[in-house]
């Protein structure tokens, strides 16, 4: 399957209107000296029934974008459409979008079922409908037995479920999740990741998930938008983001990467011929939207490269093995290249195999030409 590479703006060819369409959204906080550009000309399309993740380090603007979609803040310029309706200036209570907050924000003076019914009551739904929906929601998140508990008597994981049920009960067109798993311990977080994904599948509601955890993003998302300094650097499926990072920041933030500088010898359609620093020439596939020339930066993931014994002309690169890091499941080899940069390869460990390499010896690095990805300059 050939996946289309997204590079910021995408026109969905689905006949359905996009769940969320953001057009050139900019958000500025403060004035004068204290002015902060939180979002810088962000455009994106989130499809109906998609698990979409906004991924980036803290301060990258992901939460700001989420708050603009929720309606807690309004864009300084640009607009946001919810199924073709311009919601940019609507208050939160007039848009069919609900939020699961990072600290859950459960109402402490209400029971579990009162929390879940709150949104439905505010919408003015009939009593019977509310009662039935609350039961359904309690069943969905497996909290039937705790329906009359006060929320401060619940564990973190249980609070998380109530927050989910509360936000899902009004059946919003889009559900926003603001780092909802960050307060949970590792094991519970892993379970909830699977459960959330399942929930999204079962309800058919568009999920927009905010996280700084790359592993979480890769595990759960249909598509990911990587954000940095208020801009979206790349949008794509987890595979695209990992295998074909568009920029150095993306390659660095998600997984580990080796950066190489290379000279472009020729470009022929989607293929490019590169000359590596070792003098070796490789021919690699270019994703859409990249027309490299001159000296470019290329990236090779550690697990796509292998260490090989000695001598010249064996692999794509040559260097001196400086460190061997044993990590149980695999071993990392830190290899110093002639231009003083460090190159890391990763090998999965086999049982009953002793370490074949010694620190200090000359080694080669072997990788397939496709492992080399040229970054957008």
């Amino acid at each position: 399957m050939v996946e289309k590479q997204g590079t910021g703006q995408e026109n969905a060819e689905t006949p359905l209107p996009a769940a969320i369409y953001a057009e050139r959204v900019t958000k500025v906080f403060g004035e004068g000296k204290n002015k902060v550009l939180a979002l810088d000309d962000v455009s994106l399309t989130i499809k109906e029934n998609e698990f979409f993740t906004l991924l980036g380090p803290s301060g990258c603007g992901k939460t700001t974008l989420l708050r603009l979609i929720a309606g807690f803040d309004h864009p300084t310029s640009g607009k946001i459409l919810l199924r073709d309706q311009d919601i940019s200036q609507l208050p939160p209570y007039q848009r069919s979008v609900n939020t699961v907050f990072q600290d859950y924000a459960l109402f402490p003076h209400m029971t579990v079922s009162k929390n879940i019914s709150f949104g439905l009551e505010m919408m003015g739904k009939p009593k019977d409908y509310i009662k039935k929906t609350v039961s359904d929601m309690l069943a969905l998140v497996k909290m039937e037995e705790l329906r009359d508990r006060r929320t401060d008597q619940l564990s973190g994981g249980q609070q998380q479920r109530v927050a989910l049920a509360r936000a899902l009960a009004p059946r919003p067109q889009v559900l926003l999740l603001d780092e909802p798993l960050s307060a949970l311990d590792y094991k519970l977080r892993k379970e909830m990741q699977i459960e959330l994904k399942q929930l999204q599948h079962d309800t058919g509601i568009t999920f927009i998930f905010v996280t700084h955890d790359q592993e979480e993003a890769l595990t759960m998302s249909d598509r990911i938008a990587v954000m940095h300094l208020g801009r979206i650097l790349q949008i794509g499926t987890p595979r695209q983001i990992y295998n074909q990072p568009a920029e150095r920041f993306v390659a660095d933030f998600i997984g580990r990467s080796n950066f190489l500088s290379a000279e472009v010898l020729s470009v022929d359609g989607r293929r490019a011929r590169l000359k590596l620093s070792s003098g070796r020439e490789v021919s690699t596939v270019l994703p859409d939207g990249r027309e490299p020339h001159g000296i470019v930066t290329a990236v090779v993931r550690p697990e796509y490269a292998q260490i090989a014994e000695g001598a010249d002309d064996v692999g794509e690169l040559q260097g001196v093995l400086e460190n061997i890091v044993y990590l149980g499941t695999d071993t990392h080899y830190h290899i110093r290249l002639p231009d003083e940069t460090m190159f890391v390869t990763r090998s999965q460990n086999q049982c009953n195999v002793t370490e074949a390499f010694n620190a200090g010896q000359s080694v080669s690095v072997v990788f397939k030409p496709e492992a080399v990805q040229v970054l957008r300059s």
């Binding site: 807690f72 709150f118 401060d152």
Partner: protein, 310 residues
């Protein structure tokens, strides 16, 4: 084996001796309380059951006259008994004005406290500081300042006459209205501070969550904010209502001699009225009202004081 018993519970022993020490620490406070509060209170209670002396003071003779006179009035000529209208009027005025004052300070103080609590953290202390500025001036001087504003030749009347809204000054001084304005001004900070304290603890993402769940501004206020800051509302109301009931300076200056409140009536009995037992009985009555208000506070806060505590 013998001393194993003595050392078997060293933690308990330590705690016990620590409790003893802590109790000792509170001894000075207890002595002051006994000497300056419980003692005088007991004297007042005893006095209320004695007979009035001829010129002042008490005669050590048991009598329930004082208590009788709190509510009833016996005609000295024909000996008929009727309700002591003046006392009841004053009592009623005290309760009514205190209640209205509490409501107004709440209505003014709530948005004020909300405003301060929603400012950026570094600006809040400045706003709180401004709230406490009036405390720098003596109560009497502040009350006279109000008098200057509302008297017939005061700021408001002269101003209104100058712009031609009224021909004759509006009589505001020496009315219930004047007392109410004075008490509202004086006691407002006592409402704002506890309200602010509970709003400051309010998790504002709860407010956002309610907005997010289709609650309008009005509903957010009624369903989320008010229930969660209720302890502050009650504490503020108590802090305003109780001193209002016993207010003395404000009704004296702004109410003149005619519009008395309980505090003034008590002062009158101990002073010009020369009826100490009646004064004592009225004091105990005031105290009972205060206790009733406090009891109500305790009862309403019990069981739902988890509201704003996270």
């Amino acid at each position: 084996m013998r001393n194993s018993k003595a050392t078997s519970d060293p933690v308990g022993d330590m705690q016990r001796s620590r409790t003893k020490k802590n109790w000792l620490l509170s001894a000075p406070a207890l002595v002051v309380l006994a000497a300056a509060s419980s003692g005088p209170l007991l004297i007042v209670l005893v006095y209320s059951f004695l007979s009035a002396g001829e010129y002042s003071g008490v005669v050590w003779k048991f009598s329930t006259d004082a208590w009788f006179n709190v509510v009833f009035f016996r005609d000295i000529f024909d000996g008929t008994t009727s309700f002591a209208d003046a006392h009841i009027t004053i009592l009623w005025r005290s309760v009514r004005l205190s209640f209205i004052t509490t409501i107004i300070t709440l209505a003014v103080g709530f948005p004020t406290a909300y405003f301060i609590a929603t400012r950026p953290r570094r600006n809040r202390s400045l706003w709180l500081f401004l709230i406490t500025v009036p405390f720098w001036t003596n109560l009497l001087i502040r009350t006279f300042a109000i008098l200057e504003v509302i008297r017939n030749e005061g700021l408001i009347n002269i101003g209104l006459q100058m712009i031609g809204v009224i021909d004759k000054p509006i009589q505001m001084l020496y009315t219930d209205f004047a007392i109410m304005v004075g008490m509202t001004y004086v006691y407002l900070p006592l409402m704002v501070l506890p309200l602010y304290a509970s709003m400051e603890r309010l998790n504002f993402s709860l407010v956002e969550a309610a907005y997010d769940l289709y609650a309008t501004r009005h509903k957010v206020l009624r369903r989320i904010i008010i229930p969660l800051v209720k302890p502050g509302v009650i504490a503020g109301s108590i802090l305003v209502f109780i001193p209002s009931l016993g207010a003395f300076v404000t009704p004296r200056v702004l109410g003149g001699g005619k519009k008395m409140m309980l505090g003034n009536l008590i002062e009158l009995q101990f002073g010009a009225g020369r009826n100490w037992p009646l004064g004592a009985a009225l004091s105990v009555t005031l105290l009972t009202l205060v206790m009733a208000a406090l009891l109500m506070y305790v009862r309403t806060t019990q069981g739902n004081n988890a509201g704003s505590v996270r």
